[in-house]
Symmetry: C2
Subunit: 197 residues, 2 copies
Amino acid sequence: MASSALLKRTVLIKSIVNGFQASRAYASVAVGTDLISAAPDVALQKARSWDEGVSSKFATTPLKGIFKDKKVVIFGLPGAYTGVCSAQHVPSYKNNIDKFKAKGIDSVICVAVNDPYVMNGWAEKLQAKEAIEFYGDFDGSFHKKLDLTIDLSAALLGPRSHRWSAYVVDGKIKVLNVEEKPSEFEVSGGDVLLGQI
Amino acid sequence: MASSALLKRTVLIKSIVNGFQASRAYASVAVGTDLISAAPDVALQKARSWDEGVSSKFATTPLKGIFKDKKVVIFGLPGAYTGVCSAQHVPSYKNNIDKFKAKGIDSVICVAVNDPYVMNGWAEKLQAKEAIEFYGDFDGSFHKKLDLTIDLSAALLGPRSHRWSAYVVDGKIKVLNVEEKPSEFEVSGGDVLLGQI
């Protein structure tokens, strides 16, 4: 599935600054894409404890509820509790949260192909829950719709997402950065995105 | 996939004590099954940090390495960071570890359809890593082979495992307990299994 998605992809890599910043336009997601109309049936799952999950009746959040009428910074990563994600990717947003807020950003969101309870446990461990909203994409449907899935079975992870970031205004993608390899951390960090808003 | 596995299943439910202890014999796993020969190609992934994963070159552990010539207590559950698992299932083994060791058990193992980094984060949070060996079954292949998978998408988890426990000697299943529903905790706890060894 991941490999056929890969074949379908139209990958345009464009170096922006000194070869450091690369952005890709995928077949189904690019600058200009309206996430709300592109994926009206897709929902994410707000990170929460299991008990909160039960009391919420396992409610999910449609993309409209996340993006409509809002300025959103969102970044995706291969998995909770993996290396670059914990050590660099999340901190690069957490540590810049005041600067994002100063630019009028309504929410800074972290998403991964994990369930919302794992995302919650990880967010608590990183002490990042106050600054960043964490969402699970437990069945990968959000990342599949965006054509941002990748098979990371070799790293014992299975089907996950690329490492990416985006600036989204009222559902429309204004900036999109996708790392060439999920082990890299060149274009998807908070510092880079701050300079693009 | 989960539903076809369900159809294939031969489910025999047998009440043992006051309707409280129930054991099921599945099509592909039952008391007497030799796990090593039933699933020679299946491996689990020892829980570890991402950095340990990298330095181990993402090594996995074949079932033979886990069960051969050993007396093993193993229990499986729907997921790291879920309710019954964190609050009751793991503690029921952790708190009885001395009693299991006194019975000559070589290892007490917890397994779930999660990646090994999530399992490691959860084990650390539960302060259970010293007593219990945690393994991931990231692609579900172990539980598929045992026909113990269940679709828990309604709880935002996706394809996971039943809640179960077993006593395994040199690869052969001597005792097997599977909860009728993964939300239940009647037959798969450490106290029950202690009485069955």
